[in-house]
Amino acid sequence: MESVLVAVGVVALVGLILGVLIGFTAKKFAVASDPRIEQVAELLPGANCGGCGYAGCADLAKAIVTSGADPALCAVCSAENVAKICAVMGVEAGTKERKVAVVYCSGDRSHAKMIAQYNGLNDCRAAASLHGGGKGCRFGCIGLGSCARSCPFGAIEIRNGLAIVHPETCVGCGKCVDICPRKLIRLVPAESKGHVYCNSLLKGPQKKKYCSIPCIACRKCVKAAPEVFNPQGFLVRAVKPELVDAELVKSAGCPTGALQTVEDHLALGQAAGKEKEGAA
């Protein structure tokens, strides 16, 4: 019985001594870290997407505090949190424009023609250097979803062989822009209401060979609203996409349907997609 007490006593004593020692060293050799780093890190989203160019949210927090990086570098962070970070740092908060990604193509399986049966790697980057995954149009979306897999927020849906960005989920971090081998994703203002969903630089008839919904550069839309649309060779882009509302789309009368409102584009292939799911 006594030996047990001795053992307990010894262990307690050793514990006490070590505890004091640790407490002492922790005080003595403490690394002074700015408490603000932690505060800022807590206000950042914690998704570690890397979109800001730093290794992760903690890294950006450190950069904001120690080297004065711009809190607005984080595309994901809400305006409210950016303001809070600015408050922590004691700087003036700038206004931040929210951006979202858009895939400039409507060539899903019901609109774009395939020229080969592709049975390779399920990756757009690999397919881009192998017959474009079988898609006839060499500018359009390959649809193997490299962008969707790279998106840390799950904002991209592959529907019927076409990548569609859900603007309400997209935070504009730009990861998909970097990965897409066809370079057809761009960041646009979140208020955008519509776009010309095509990326092909070929002449109209050549586009029509492989796709039933291309921009054929007929310039009807340009005539309807010259300040909104800008022809670039054989492709027209909406340079003020926030003005492309349903009314303008209707009055422009795009003969192929490449000009769509964001809403209509989101509904594209919805029916076909459902059918497929039902059949599966």
Binding site: L121, L130, R138
Partner: protein, 444 residues
């Protein structure tokens, strides 16, 4: 003479069940009629693309230079026939990605222009002059790599070269163009080899050839004495014609990962390239045509053809009598390393060794599954890579781990895809990994 060398067996490799060589090997060489239009891809070599020096409407003669080399690792391009320059167009390249090309509208005369000066007395011609000639003639590795030959024949002075290896293995199933070339013009090939050996200042010439080509071996032995070349018949094993495999089989030397043949004192040249060297030096003819095997069971008359560069694949199939049955796949190159095609517009270029049609029942369609870790790919990989690991890390986009596991040494022979029971697209994984790693290195 047949060498007394006992060839070593390289590790890994396979013996494809269906060699398919009998379809075309015994057919005599055919020279098809002139086409009205050739579509010449401009960038046919590794390295910098040549610069176009003609414009639409220009009259050109056969063999006239139409694009000049841009730098040392680059070669010029020549008109395949006489006629007019047509439009600058885009056609699909071998991997289906559009490449710039130029049309030559033939005038039917097929007249040679002012040729390069021939050097019949090449034995007493300056080495640098010979090397320059090889570049002027636009010669690149015709076995598939398309690396400029004059650059390969210019090893840095600190590398001591002692052996020229003539690659006559032709280990790809179905392809017989090299075989045909040796049967018909072994002397030309060995003359080319002698010229290359002179440039390298060496005398040892070894010819590696698979022993399934007895007629070619005979033709070679008949003339080899004159060139003191040693013929080494090799086992039939794919990829016997891989540079590193061939060097090991013939000399027992091993090239380390990331190394080059010249590190072990060897330079390897394909037989087609050597024949082109011979023509460029002794006759002054630039590279404007090549031997191509056009074969496959759906073709009416498969065989070997002398095709001008810029011949569209669709025309080549017509020369072979057209198709008689349903087609499952069209491949540019051999079945192991070649690229499946999605268009008949793709044109014959300097490294097109074959055009192959497969019937639907000869094509396996599958969906890739997860790796079974069966290890068949590891057993068969001739580069001794840990393919199953590589396949998995590439699938997870861990290209850093792929690099650590020597993915850069993969020679894209296609074996690991061929043997994989799970149908995994390993080679495509590794191609993507290499591209990503190269892109990352460039960024650094």
């Amino acid at each position: 003479m047949i060498s007394s060398i006992h060839p070593k067996k390289f590790a890994g490799g396979i013996h494809p069940e269906n060699e398919g060589k009998e379809l075309s090997a015994n057919e005599p060489l055919r020279v098809p009629p002139l086409l009205e239009k050739y579509t010449l891809p401009i960038h046919q070599n590794i390295g910098a693309p040549p610069k176009l020096i003609v414009k639409k409407g220009d009259e050109v003669r056969k063999g006239q230079c139409i694009a000049e080399a841009d730098g040392f690792i680059s070669v010029p391009l020549h008109a395949p026939t006489s006629g007019k320059i047509g439009d600058a167009v885009e056609i699909p390249g071998a991997n289906g990605v559009a490449v710039p090309a130029i049309e030559i509208l033939s005038d039917g005369a097929d007249e040679w222009g002012a040729c390069l000066e021939p050097y019949p007395d090449w034995k007493n011609t300056d080495r640098e002059k010979l090397k320059k000639r090889i570049q002027e003639a636009g010669i690149v590795g015709m076995g598939g790599a398309a690396f400029p030959t004059h650059a390969k024949l210019s090893p840095p002075p600190e590398k001591i070269i002692d052996t020229l290896i003539v690659n006559a293995a032709e280990c790809e199933p179905y392809l017989t163009a090299d075989d045909r070339l040796l049967r018909d013009s072994a002397e030309k090939v060995l003359t080319g080899a002698a010229i290359a050996a002179k440039i390298l200042k060496i005398s040892r010439i070894l010819v590696g050839i698979e022993n399934n080509k007895p007629e070619a071996i005979e033709a070679l032995s008949a003339v080899s004495e004159k060139f003191s070349a040693e013929i080494v018949p090799l086992h039939v094993r794919y990829p016997q014609g891989g540079e590193k495999q061939l060097i090991y089989a013939l000399t027992g030397r091993k090239v380390v990962a990331g190394g080059l043949p010249m590190d072990v004192g060897c330079v390897v040249q394909n037989v087609g390239t050597l024949a082109a060297i011979c023509e460029a030096v002794t006759e002054g003819h630039p590279l404007i045509e090549r031997l191509v095997t056009v074969t496959g069971s759906p073709l009416v008359r498969p065989g070997n053809f002398v095709l001008r560069l810029g011949t569209p694949v669709g025309k080549a199939l017509e020369f072979a009598g057209g198709v008689k049955g349903p087609v499952g796949k069209l491949i540019l190159g051999g079945p192991m390393m070649g690229f499946a095609q999605s268009s008949l517009e793709v044109a014959v270029s300097k490294n097109t060794s074959g055009i192959l049609l497969l019937a639907p029942e000869e094509v396996r369609q599958f969906e890739a599954g997860p790796c079974l870790s069966c290890g068949r790919c590891v057993d068969a990989c001739p580069m001794r890579l840990l393919v199953s690991t590589l396949s998995k890390v590439c699938e997870n986009e861990r290209y850093d781990l792929a690099e650590e596991n020597y993915v850069m040494s993969c020679l894209e022979c296609g074996i690991c895809t061929y043997v994989c029971p799970a149908g995994r697209p390993n080679v495509q994984h590794f191609r993507l990994a290499k591209a990503e790693i190269n892109a990352r290195r460039r960024k650094k």
